[in-house]
Symmetry: C2
Subunit: 207 residues, 2 copies
DNA sequence: CATCAACGGAGCGATTCGCTCCGTTAAATA
DNA sequence: TATTTAACGGAGCGAATCGCTCCGTTGATG
């Protein structure tokens, strides 16, 4: 072992597990087998269950972690000087990390109070990013922060059938197209009504 | 019964089944339960198995049907006078119908020779649509026909957690954004290499 | 009324799942 | 080096779910 014995291995395994879980849930949905996660992480099932008492506990931890990563990405975006670069970087980071990948978990797990708080803080920061881009006139005016959340949700989903590397390359190309479509001025206005906060978070109330 | 007794009911059920199967596979992947399909179609499991001997046979029939629909959409697109309207209409039709939704079936079912032929004809027509848009200068030059196929694949995926109506409305808004991003001139060029035909169809060779 | 094609769904065996339990491994300690 | 022990991997258990069969019911037809 590289750094310091069994404790270090445990810490490394913990991160490997969370990364693997995110990829697997993003590709296969909430019903993905626990064995698939352990396998992808390269650890035994026993090591998974020593850290998380149940599959559900792993999923909850995963949600909190991903939302915290999204908050960090939003803060980085707000720290950028250019409003567009900040927003685009935020979106790209979230998609690359797979923040929206936990969407398939919605309705399958109870949402703790801490999860609601983290989500609220995240959407607050995202709202600031979007508002700043709107004021700077670089973001098409008819798009809302929730539209962008749904866009990230869509792009966070991993392909269940292609190699991870190829899938990532494809996703980056398609995301570049979508980002171009987000820039002002819009060429064709968006159809229908913008999504409401209520319908956006409705799936999470079912858990 | 409305039109003509049991035969008419059977024909209607057949269509209901195929529609339901497309939605369910698009939302939950190839592993979706047969009972879920029958339930969504509002028919019994017995009625499903009277028409399709196995789940796999249903999936194959579904693939052929969806590809034929895509071909019709491409022909409609080529019949349009305006190159951009033709291409955009084709993409919108395919996404609305869920053509790319069978992507999660790739590698899970054997691909018959007829399926290959249908796919070849479809990609040929799609290539013509894209080439015409390129020549007219309305489509960003760095995007390929395979990029667009992958884009449709991405947007064909249904949300496993939201009501179908809401999901459809969201999808149309996001697709409008992506279509704007496809128009020439591009604001930021696409990263990486365009996908190759080989890697695009590789998943289908595994069945 | 008698016939029978098409219906819905209970339930079978097989498979897969979440999770437990234990023998093994290797770092820490004496 | 010998002993201890914390973390490891994975076989296998009971439960749940799956694809599919089979049969009693329904309702149009002649």
């Amino acid at each position: 072992m590289s750094t310091r014995g069994r404790q270090a291995e445990a810490a490394r395994n913990d991160r490997l597990l969370l990364d693997a879980a995110r990829e697997v849930f993003a590709a296969q949905g909430a019903g993905a087998a626990v064995a698939a996660i352990a396998g992808r992480a390269g650890v035994g099932i026993g090591s998974l269950y020593r850290r998380y008492a149940t599959k559900q506990e792993l999923q909850q931890q995963l949600c909190v972690l991903a939302m915290e990563q999204a908050i960090e990405a939003a803060e980085r975006g707000l720290a950028a000087d250019d409003a567009w670069a900040g927003l685009a970087g935020y979106i790209r980071d979230c998609v690359a990390f797979g923040t929206g990948a936990l969407a398939p978990l919605a309705g399958q797990i109870p949402v703790s109070e801490r999860m609601w708080q983290t989500a609220r803080r995240g959407s607050q920061l995202a709202g600031r990013l979007v508002a700043r881009a709107h004021q700077a006139g670089v973001l098409r005016p008819d798009v809302t922060a929730l539209d962008i959340s749904l866009l990230m949700e869509l792009f966070s989903r991993r392909s269940p059938i292609r190699a991870a590397g190829q899938d990532q390359a494809h996703r980056q190309r398609l995301l570049a197209i979508a980002l171009d479509g987000l820039r002002a001025p819009a060429r064709q206005s968006l159809p229908g009504q913008p999504p409401s906060q209520q319908e956006y978070e409705a799936p999470w109330h079912a858990g």
